[in-house]
């Protein structure tokens, strides 16, 4: 009898626990689903039904469809923005469900950048209000009046939302920037940088030294405050003003070994041992996609990695590249040909491209752009990675196809092949485009009598310009360099990263959310740097330098480079 009873009890317990875990799982799935819908509402302005959210701004402007999403003003992190005279306050649960006191200045947590538009009055931070409740928040989103009775700035839309839609939105706001991202604790904010073992150490030594130096300088300031300043209010003030970081910084080096296919697991292992807040910088000579994908799936910001092979995507979020690398040269070649007044709509393009990683980036950039413009597909000839393009082969292709323009993505033997085209009995095409990046210094080796038709993609400032800006940017003697040393490209790419880091830490203050870091960078000032005419990230922009010149060679044995285009061609 006893046995039977205990058996029954056992079964009952098992049943109940199975049932409960089922219910629990169901609840979890439901709340995931709610958050997904909430994210769609917040980011894309779409209701669970798929219909657009309707908002009313400035009293009577019905906001059209998906153009008026929360994210466009409150940003992805929900911590708000400042543009001209309009200040958008945070809208994450943490801020909304806490009372707000009257502001002495801008509260920590709100960006102060961009607040000084010419003629635009600096935005006034809003006055005190009690904490919201679910009810008062819903009422405010519909009616535009906060719990203190103050009407919102009319720029903040009023939204028509059903009760269930409102509940979805509110639970999303509560989840938004609610807990600090991984990589930060009470004392330390952790970063890592990635280098790959295909590189000679002198390719990355400058880069690592500069990054270490940045970390050391920042920590010295923080230590100084900790040791010297006793008054907590003064301490706090120094932090609020952005003069001192809120945490000590640390920087780990993640060295990736072997083939790129194996990097992912190495990265996972490093990250498991030490979750970092962001990857800063990093250099690879072969690939970046494994790191890019790793960052994307871990929602880990990766700032200014130095690679010729960035991942080209319009939607990926977490990696911010200095430029599109070789792809940008291909893109520029297509735009240049398209803009040329002498290149007819029906003009024929022959693209000859080596089947190397570089050749593929260049030809993809060209082809994607050429297609987007609406031109007919270029005739493409591929050369195997190890094959050479002989002068005869090139001449034969041109004779056979009679193109108006030839785009050649090749290096090694290209100058000889092109020089052979200047033979007196040969009729060359009107334009030949080559890449300075792929050819390195070889592009200077063209015969005088063919230079007229050769156009070169050149994705940096011209050397004389660059010298001028170096002096301006680095001062007369950059730190850590001996007189006469030339400044490496890696150094030139590291300086903007450090500027961005300094500025972002100042603005991020105590809000250690990765999305907020990216939001802040997207609101940063444009940088005028030696290497490029301008580096900037607007919201959602992921490649800082957008330019590339088309140049030609002047005459003589030390030809000057002559610009044939603006920095950016559309």
């Amino acid at each position: 009898m006893n046995r039977v009873l205990s058996f029954i009890i056992c079964i009952a317990i098992i049943c109940v626990s199975l049932l409960r875990s089922d219910v629990y799982g169901q609840q979890e799935a439901d709340s995931m689903e709610t958050l997904k819908h909430g994210e769609r509402l917040y980011r894309d302005g779409l209701l669970p039904s798929g219909k657009p959210l309707i908002g009313i701004i400035k009293g009577d402007l019905p906001a059209p469809g998906n153009s008026f999403t929360c994210i466009s003003c409150h940003m992805r992190s929900g911590l708000g923005s400042v543009e001209g005279s309009v200040l958008t306050t945070p809208t994450n649960g943490r801020s909304l469900y806490a009372p707000r006191s009257n502001p002495p200045t801008l509260r920590p947590g709100m960006s102060t950048m961009g607040a000084s538009g010419k003629g635009a009055p600096s935005p006034q931070p809003p006055p005190a209000r009690p904490a919201y409740t679910d009810e008062s928040l819903a009422a405010a989103l519909r009616g535009g009046v906060d719990p203190s009775g103050r009407a919102w700035d009319p720029v903040m839309p009023r939204y028509k939302l059903q009760d269930d839609e409102m509940a979805i939105l509110i639970s999303y706001l509560k989840s938004l920037s609610s807990e600090f991202s991984p990589g930060v604790d009470a004392t330390t904010l952790r970063f890592a940088t990635v280098i790959t073992d295909d590189l000679n150490p002198d390719r990355y030594q400058d880069h690592l030294n500069l990054l270490d130096d940045f970390i050391r300088r920042t920590n010295e300031r923080t230590n100084h405050i900790e040791n010297e300043i006793r008054n907590p209010r003064v301490k706090r003030q120094l932090m609020v003003s952005g003069r001192v970081a809120y945490r000590k910084l640390s920087l780990s080096r993640w060295l990736l070994k072997g083939a790129p296919e194996t990097w992912r697991s190495q990265l996972e292992e490093y990250y498991r041992k030490e979750p970092v807040f962001a990857i800063i910088g990093g250099i690879s000579g072969t690939a970046w996609k494994p790191v890019h994908d790793f960052c994307e799936s871990n929602r880990l910001p990766c700032l200014y990695p130095q690679t010729d092979f960035p991942v080209i995507s319009e939607t990926d979020w977490y990696t911010l590249y200095p430029s599109k690398g070789y792809y940008q040269e291909g893109e520029t070649a297509a735009r240049f040909l398209n803009r040329g007044d002498d290149f007819p709509d029906c003009g024929k393009v022959l693209m000859i491209t080596r089947e190397s990683q570089v050749g593929k980036m260049l030809s993809n950039g060209f082809r994607d752009t050429w297609r987007a413009i609406g031109r007919t597909e270029p005739l493409t000839v591929r050369i195997a990675e190890k094959e050479t393009l002989s002068p005869e082969h090139l001449a034969l292709l041109i004779k056979k196809e009679k193109p108006d323009a030839v785009v050649i993505w090749d290096n090694a033997a290209l100058p000889e092949a092109i020089n052979a085209l200047s033979a007196p009995d040969f009729e060359p095409p009107r334009k030949i485009i080559v890449s300075s990046g792929y050819l390195s210094q070889e592009f200077m080796k063209q015969n005088d009598n063919i230079r007229d038709i050769i156009y070169i993609t050149y994705p940096e400032r011209l050397p004389a310009d660059e010298k001028l800006h170096e002096a301006y940017f680095f001062g007369t003697q950059p730190k850590g360099l001996k007189n006469g040393d030339s400044i490496s490209k890696s150094t030139k790419l590291t300086y903007p990263l450090i500027k961005v880091m300094e500025q972002s830490l100042r603005e991020m203050k105590e809000n250690f959310y990765r999305d907020y870091l990216l939001d802040i960078i997207s609101m940063g000032k444009d940088l005028d740097v030696p290497l490029y005419e301008r580096m900037s990230f607007g919201p959602g922009q992921r490649y800082a330098s957008k330019g590339c010149y088309i140049v030609q060679l002047g005459k003589g044995s030390h030809p000057e480079l002559i610009k044939r285009s603006d920095w950016v061609i559309h």
């Binding site: 009293g59 153009s67 008026f68 003003c73 309009v86 635009a120 413009i373 950016v568």
Partner: protein
Amino acid sequence: MRIPFPRISLFFVILLFVCILPVRPTHAADIKYKRSIEKYNIPDVVLINQDGKKVRLQSLLNSDIPVIVDFIYGTCTTICPVLSAGYVNLQRKLDADNQKVRLISITIDPENDSPKVMKEYLKRYRAKPGWDFLTGSRADIDTVMRAFNAYIPDKMSHYPLNMIRMPKNGNWVRLFGLMSTKEFLNEYQMATAK
């Protein structure tokens, strides 16, 4: 013929009043934006529209129909949505009659704003024909901003501005600040009154 001196100076004083002094809005209390009448010399530059076509700014602006200009950019937050919602609503109110108004948006982020970006922007706002978005070289865009006394060195120092060109005399109504549809329509009607 000799014009008596005092009459000329009076004429200039009036002209000065019209051109330089901000015109006081009729109901200042509830208007948050600033309004003034200006003369601008439109530079002779060629810009590129959302279809990738070259357009001469002068021929686009010096028109018999009213023209409105604003400065925005494709990835902008806060200000642009409000300015552009103003354009959309004006288009709706005027029944998409593109003979009544020509809307021009000029980018302040020309490096990023390619025809593709601009076209997508207009599509997102459901713009109707008669609203063009223009980009160009940084130098040309700077020249245009300066000509409108609206030089914005950096897209993050952006501020809200609309300018309505009056077809009757080629002067511009400069409107600084964000307006509601009603205010915007009202300004449009005042500027285009015969």
